[in-house]
């Protein structure tokens, strides 16, 4: 297909950035930040499929992210499961939960959908805070290292590469989905639900499928985060974290997969850059967000792509 070539080029460029980046980073702290960028990017790429392409909002994705993280933490730490098994079980469990709540939730539109997903995220955060026996409650819990075929995967540098590889895989999956018939159907749904239904697209089924898929992306990213950081806290399920994910994709540009990655990068790095400003950090953070949205109203990637007169992906 002719469409695969620009994808290959984009993925190669993104891969090159991922390879060069650690060479430019002065110390391990920044490598950890870069690892977080890629893990956040996985959540954002999945969330962008739901929000950017299917046009449904979710303010509860941090809940799915945290569920994945805790599934890995508890299954490996308490029950001694193998790491990859825990990751897969977490993804499957989160997928099932997302599937279970998707039908009633996705019948809602606009503000009501946002409220329902917000409630879902809050419920997950409460459960993680209260089930102290399993989750460690508000203090969080330590996570054993990920062991694959007897090899313990530890160390910041190694996790950088794991996160970068997983991110590239997520981006490749998303790009291919968007250009497949189901992906075109999703975009059609966003444009006009009536017209989409009139050509035989089962709107509910498509929305449920993309909701589940985006939840699974978040869960896998959460599992990887748990093993990379070796510690999880319920703050990962918090409302602010969900808002952060949505802000990332809006900032980077809705309906742009590379925009989702860039948005994740910007909003992961920005607080670190501003941390030295102490009290002024939040003011400047807000001012930068406002500035970007005023001058690049469609998000960074689509706005710049339009300015350069190219079609964005």
């Amino acid at each position: 297909m002719s469409l695969t070539r620009p994808h290959t080029r984009g993925l190669l460029a993104l891969g090159a950035i991922a390879v060069i980046l650690p060479l430019l980073l002065p110390n391990p702290f920044y490598v950890d930040v870069a690892t977080k960028i890629w893990l956040n990017a996985i959540v954002c790429v999945g969330l962008n499929l739901l929000v950017g392409y299917a046009g449904q909002i979710s303010l509860g994705h941090a809940g799915f992210y945290a569920l994945g993280a805790y599934a890995s933490a508890v299954l490996t730490g308490v029950y001694g499961w193998p790491g990859l098994g825990a990751l897969a079980a977490g993804a499957a469990g989160v997928g099932l939960i997302a599937f279970g709540v998707a039908r009633p939730i996705l019948k809602l539109k606009g503000h009501y959908l946002a409220m329902a997903t917000l409630g879902l995220g809050i419920i997950i955060a409460i459960v993680l805070n209260r089930e102290i026996g399993l989750t460690g409650g508000p203090d969080g819990r330590a996570v054993p290292p990920l062991t694959v075929f007897g090899v313990r995967l530890v160390g910041g540098a190694l996790w950088y590469w794991i996160a970068a590889g997983a991110m590239l895989l997520a981006v490749a999956l998303a790009l291919n989905l968007i250009d497949s018939p189901p992906g075109r159907a999703l975009r059609a749904l966003h444009g006009s639900e009536v017209a989409a239904e009139a050509i035989g697209i089962d709107a509910t089924r498509a929305k449920v499928a993309v909701f589940v898929l985006s939840a699974v992306f978040a869960s896998v990213a959460g599992s990887l985060y748990a093993h990379a950081d070796r510690f999880v806290t319920p703050a990962e399920a918090g409302f602010l974290r969900s808002v952060e994910f949505v802000t990332m994709i809006v900032l980077g540009g809705l309906a742009s997969t590379y925009g989702a990655v860039l948005g994740a990068a910007l909003l992961t790095v920005l607080p670190q850059l501003l941390a030295g400003l102490a009290d002024y950090e939040h003011i400047l953070y807000g001012a930068i967000l406002m500035g970007v949205m005023i001058f690049l109203p469609h998000g960074v990637v689509p706005s710049l792509a339009a300015r350069w007169g190219r079609r964005q992906t």
């Binding site: 075109r184 975009r187 006009s192 017209a195």
Partner: protein, 234 residues
């Protein structure tokens, strides 16, 4: 009869908009449904395609009782709708819009079908890669019709295809509809432009406040004094 409606009623919330509508469309027929704004024309089409409000009564299509089927199942049975206001998928290319029209069909059938549509609508063939949102109103209407035809429908539902188009373009759209009918497509055409619709229709229904009040051949309705006064402004 390909499509039979028996005592169909529909409502938006508490407001009943269709009252006991019974009508039929035979295979190969071009049937026009005319009436003024708010008479229930669009609602009736949407009830038939399944994207509209909940309805009661029986709807039979090609031997199936479809009244309770989801819209995508009805498309698979052979009902394609061109929605009011065209509703093309603006950010996607003409090619992608047409391919989406064949969403319910096996992928290998789409290539040849696509070429058939481009042969039928040469104006679109020159704009395959162009985004649908950048087409003119008339081209968008042609695209919306082409998109519906990609489903290879047994019954084509056309909702106000002349709405908001320049007179010359309206004439082109009606020529296309007449061509489709001659090629054997069964069409149910909803129009406020009663003159043009009845002129190409085999039969017509007149709908007033959710009830069918007249039924006759297209030519007879055009000559009917009541129709002439109310809808043709003669």
């Amino acid at each position: 009869m390909l499509l039979e409606l028996d005592n169909v009623a529909g409502r938006y919330g508490r407001n009943a908009v269709l009252h006991g509508v019974s009508a039929a469309v035979g295979a190969g027929e071009l049937v026009a449904l005319v009436g003024s704004n708010g008479a229930g024309k669009t609602t009736l089409l949407r009830v038939i395609s399944g994207v509209g409000p909940a309805s009661t009564g029986r709807i039979r299509f090609a031997g199936h009782d479809i009244a309770r089927l989801a819209p995508d199942r009805r498309v698979r049975l052979g009902i394609a709708q061109v929605p009011e206001g065209r509703q093309v998928f603006a950010p996607q290319s003409v090619d992608d819009n047409l391919r989406l029209g064949g969403f319910t069909r096996p992928r290998r059938a789409l290539g040849p079908e696509l070429e058939r549509i481009y042969a039928l609508l040469p104006a679109l063939a020159a704009r395959r890669r162009q985004l649908a949102g950048t087409l003119s109103g008339g081209e968008q209407q042609m695209l919306a019709i082409g998109r519906a035809l990609m489903a290879a429908p047994k019954l084509l539902l056309l909702d106000e295809p002349s709405l908001g188009l320049a007179p010359l373009v309206v004439a082109a759209v009606f020529r296309l509809i007449a061509d489709l009918k001659r090629a054997g497509t069964t069409i149910l055409l909803v129009e406020q432009n009663a003159q043009a619709a009845l002129a190409i229709a085999d039969r017509g229904y007149v709908i007033e406040t959710g009830r069918l009040v007249l039924e006759d051949t297209g030519t007879a309705l055009l000559a009917n004094p009541r129709v002439r006064e109310a809808y043709l402004g003669v």
